[in-house]
């Protein structure tokens, strides 16, 4: 029984998350308390969910991309672009509070994010480039485009409906949580209740074999990059709406790395072929909790990077079969075919 629990893919991520939360509880006994103030729920746990929302969104998109054996480095730039264009449209409007303007802004921003995703998809799926390199192009150029949109300035908006997206409340909870829940449910339904999830995993294991087996690998790759772009675009809107401004230079900086980290912590292998959306969500929550913890303990927030580095090392070592064999001394354990493939792949 214990063996089955500890082998479950969520076991390690959840343990880490629990340990982090427990540490917080010991450090500050009131950490778990959630109080109602003015009809809203307030508390550290709600904060973690609220501030973690953009990261969870980006990480969900990234999970599917990584599942096809690719990677999307451009998400941080897409976050910046979509936030910039949405804020620009809203700020140019004569009446910023009009709902139609905000909807137009969101629509245009998401459309642009989809185009960015499509561009990545064309390069990876159509032209057959390596994913790291193909998305590197947009990562470098994208931040320039975002600055071009905002003309290098920080665009501020005063629109109430726009602010609602990232800082509003619905049924006592932050509105952004509902956006994340909707995207997560949609992604989970599409990948686990339809054949799409299997297609993605099969393309990730072997794109050529999948194509020969009749799966349209190219369309699958297009779809995941577009979805990833869309998620990043949504995250960009939430982020910029939360602070009512867009900063082409710094918005979404290093988001791609955090998102990849969340995916890896969640148990999805960077080699592709298998993915866990639930693990990714837990991974993103771990990162957000870690940040909150570090703020609370009072060490300079920049030190987060050192902690993150050790988290990445540890997670990677746990995932590395060679390391586990060295630790447990079970060198002659029978290996599952999938694991053997991963080893050979390296």
């Amino acid at each position: 029984m214990w063996n089955r629990i500890s082998k479950h893919h969520l076991f390690w991520p959840l343990t880490v998350l629990a340990a982090l939360l427990l540490f917080n509880l010991v450090y500050k006994p009131g950490f778990f308390s959630v109080r109602i103030q003015g009809g809203h729920l307030y508390g550290s746990l709600i904060d973690i969910l609220n501030y973690g929302a953009p990261l969870i969104l980006v990480a969900i998109g990234m999970t599917l991309v990584i599942a096809t054996g690719g990677i999307d480095l451009s998400v941080g730039s897409i976050v910046a672009i979509s936030g910039a264009i949405a804020c620009l449209i809203v700020s140019r409007a004569s009446d910023q509070h009009s709902l139609s303007i905000v909807l137009t802004a969101v629509g245009v921003a998401l459309g642009l994010a989809i185009i960015c995703g499509l561009w990545n998809g064309i390069l990876v799926g159509g032209a057959g480039m390596q994913a790291i390199i193909a998305t590197l192009i947009l990562m470098v150029a994208g931040r320039g485009i975002a600055q071009l949109v905002t003309n290098g300035q920080i665009v501020t908006v005063t629109s109430n409906p726009y602010k609602y997206i990232g800082a509003g409340w619905l049924a006592m909870l932050p509105f952004s949580i509902f956006i994340v829940a909707a995207v997560l449910l949609a992604a989970a339904w599409l990948t686990r209740r339809t054949a799409l999830g299997l297609f993605i995993e099969s393309v990730g294991s072997n794109a050529t074999a999948s194509r020969l087996a009749g799966i349209r690998s190219r369309s699958v790759i297009f779809a995941v990059y577009i979805f990833c772009g869309l998620c990043a675009g949504l995250a960009g809107i939430i982020l910029s709406s939360n602070v009512s401004s867009a900063d082409g230079n710094n918005a979404g900086l290093w988001y791609e790395l955090d998102a990849i980290l969340a995916v890896v912590i969640g148990g999805t292998s960077l080699n592709g072929g298998r993915f866990y959306l639930s693990g990714t969500v837990v991974g993103a929550l771990i990162i957000q909790t870690l940040t909150t913890t570090i703020y609370m303990v009072g060490v300079p927030p920049e030190i987060t990077l050192v902690v993150k580095a050790f988290v990445v090392f540890t997670v990677c070592l746990i995932q590395s079969e060679k390391f586990r064999m060295a630790m447990t001394g079970k060198g002659k354990r029978r290996r599952a075919p999938a694991e053997r493939e991963v080893t050979q792949h390296g």
Partner: protein, 322 residues
């Protein structure tokens, strides 16, 4: 008939000459020795870092930690000199050794635990950047006579321009790297591993040692780049050289090195760095263009060069099949 493998590097050189000539026709005062030498002066650290990156990419890996390593080196140098009062003759070897060991450690993890270089060096990037902040969150200015001398000394060239000592260091690194890549066993092993690690292993090449050495060399180059960057900025700061890893990778790719490993030239990287520098210079000369155009143009160049590589690769595999 030019060999197909030289095509990307020839395109790079031609592009550099073209861009430089275009700038010369458009702006008065552009076509001068000093503009050319300024390219080297302002990009000496990038050149050193990109040379190390070339080896890593030729071996089929990637090193994301270089920018942070540069920052950490500036921070370490500034602290050791200003706060602990070490002499530069001791500080510089120490930081270089530290960089090499840092790279060696990452290489060992990549090889022995079979983890993707991307993720290991990502962790290295976080670690190095974080260590900067552990040392100090603020800028530490360097007020040391030796460092100031290194920063200020100008060496007159016969053509009328001048260069700094950093340029000489950078050019020495380039020459050393060309020698290493094409005339030593280590270089040939690196190319072989980039071509196919499996085959290299079966051929009995020292894969483990070479891979670790490649990352150690890249770490050493980043540390040296950091030393040169310290001469350039005369300060240590945790936010120095943010995004340098991207510039270095871009320079290597524009220089014609295949990101899949196995093919590439150090000389190409030199021109990759120079092209980035010349674009920056043109944007400065233009005056009305803002700095973000640099990023966009570099992104477009990356796209063109990667596409070119794809086309060459596809052609090569087709002609092989026939």
């Amino acid at each position: 008939m030019v060999k197909r493998q030289y095509l990307p590097i020839l395109v790079t050189v031609a592009l550099f000459i073209l861009v430089f000539l275009a700038g010369s026709f458009r702006y008065t005062g552009f076509f001068s020795m000093q503009v050319l030498t300024n390219l080297l002066i302002d990009n000496a650290f990038l050149l050193i870092v990109a040379v190390g990156m070339t080896f890593v990419i030729v071996s089929g890996g990637i090193d994301l930690s270089v920018g942070s390593m540069v920052a950490l080196t500036t921070m370490l140098s500034a602290t050791l000199i200003e706060q602990l009062g070490w002499p530069p003759s001791l500080v510089i070897p120490c930081v270089l050794l530290f960089g090499a060991l840092f790279g060696l450690g990452m290489g060992a993890i990549i090889h022995y635990f079979n983890i993707q270089p991307f993720i290991v060096t990502l962790a290295g990037m976080f670690l190095a950047r974080g260590l900067c902040y552990v040392i100090s969150i603020n800028t530490i200015t360097i007020d040391n006579a030796f460092y100031k001398d290194m920063a200020m000394t100008k060496i007159q060239l016969p053509g009328g321009g001048f260069i700094s000592i950093s340029v000489i260091i950078a050019l020495a690194v380039v020459l050393l790297a060309i020698y290493l890549a094409h005339y030593t066993r280590f270089g040939r092993n690196t190319y072989a591993i980039g071509g196919s690690e499996q085959s290299s292993l079966l051929m009995g090449l020292p894969v483990a040692r070479t891979k670790m050495l490649v990352y150690a060399f890249s770490g050493f180059c980043s540390a040296l780049g950091g030393v040169v960057f310290t001469f350039y900025m005369l300060s240590g700061y945790g936010l120095h050289a943010v995004g340098l890893e991207l510039d270095a990778i871009a320079a290597v790719v524009i220089g014609g090195t295949l990101l899949t490993g196995g093919v590439g030239y150090v000389a190409g990287t030199v021109f990759g760095v120079l092209i980035q520098g010349v674009i920056q210079t043109i944007i400065n000369f233009e005056g009305t263009l803002s700095s973000w155009w640099t990023r966009i143009v570099i992104g477009i160049l990356l796209f063109v060069f990667i596409l070119l590589q794809r086309i060459i690769n596809v052609r090569a595999s087709k002609s092989r099949a026939v």
